[in-house]
């Protein structure tokens, strides 16, 4: 089984607003993405396999064989209770297994310092809400870039050591 060029990209969308989750899911599906939505940053980390240890820091996931979860891009709202999209971004970039997943931040508020901080901390893009189809169309290049980088790094032995395979614990 070779690497299918037509394999769907899997996007994880994080937003505490149900309406916004529905809207972003619709826009992403229109672009032929496979979509999973969660309503909080903590649930997103859990979905990505990160578990909270006793010290309340998030550890990298255990690797299981069944129910693999492969997320190609994370798109998250900025303003969320408990953990913001920016915190989520930082946790992802601090994780060895997840840091190469592109992260996009969305916000209804146009605060330049906020936008700059997110971009500096590793976000690929920052979308102002309401997110448009034209914004979502900007995502494919980031995904194609990540995928071709992955393909370069992965050896033909197909052990896929670099690929993130994570058990879905939810």
């Amino acid at each position: 089984m070779g690497m299918s060029a037509a394999a769907q990209f899997h996007v994880l969308a994080v937003d505490d607003s149900l309406i916004d989750r529905m809207l972003i899911e619709r826009l992403l599906k229109t672009s032929s993405f496979h979509v999973t939505t969660v309503d909080s940053a903590i649930k997103a980390l859990q979905y990505l396999g990160m578990v909270e240890d006793k010290l309340k820091s998030y550890e990298t996931p255990e690797i299981h064989q069944d129910a693999e979860v492969n997320v190609n891009l994370i798109i998250t709202d900025y303003c969320m209770p408990e953990m913001t999209g920016h915190d989520l971004l930082r946790k992802i970039k601090e994780s060895n297994s997840l840091k190469d997943i592109p992260v996009v931040i969305m916000s209804s508020e146009n605060v330049p310092s906020r936008i700059n901080r997110c971009l500096e901390d590793g976000a690929e893009e920052f979308f102002l809400k309401p997110v448009q189809q034209s914004d979502v169309n900007k995502l494919k290049p980031h995904l194609l870039k990540s995928r071709s980088k992955e393909e370069e790094e992965t050896q033909p032995s197909n052990n896929n050591k670099r690929k993130t395979r994570i058990k879905c614990t939810i």
Partner: protein, 146 residues
């Protein structure tokens, strides 16, 4: 066929008059998913009405015990969802409302709440009319054998 054409024309005219509200939703309108816009907007109505009720309650208490942070959080939610579906006038009043919260200006908050209720009522009527017209058009199309 004539009736259908007429209804189509009326629908187009009405839709253009709703340019502000409908423009945002239009990009989501999809033949493969005709129910989607109705679903999202219905959700918005439920959500908005819930928030408006909660806001009324939050502001009905004694002035000294008004929790402005809670009120602000609720308005922020309403601002977000109204912006997402394109209800720009509701969104604009929400922005003013949040300024009053910041200033802890009770009168301003109460006034904003009244305004939001009015704007919301307007947008709800318009969207409900739109959906009704669409439904009637689909029904008319369906009942005409081709």
């Amino acid at each position: 066929m004539d009736v259908v054409t007429q209804m189509q024309r009326q629908l187009i005219q009405y839709t253009s008059s709703l340019f502000q509200e409908f423009n945002q939703l239009q990009q989501l309108q999809d033949e493969s998913n005709p129910e989607f816009v109705v679903e999202v907007v219905t959700l918005f109505f439920e959500d908005a009405e819930r928030l408006l009720n909660e806001l009324s309650k939050s502001l009905q208490v004694e002035q000294e015990s008004i929790d402005f942070r809670k009120v602000d959080a609720q308005v922020h939610q309403l601002k977000g969802s109204s912006s997402s579906i394109g209800a720009q006038r509701v969104q604009r009043v929400c922005i003013a409302f949040r300024n009053f919260c910041e200033q802890q200006n009770v009168e301003g908050c109460l006034k904003s709440l009244q305004e939001i209720k009015q704007e919301y009522s307007l947008v709800k009527t318009k969207l409900e009319t739109l959906f009704k017209m669409e439904k009637q058009l689909f029904a008319a199309r369906g009942s005409i054998s081709r």
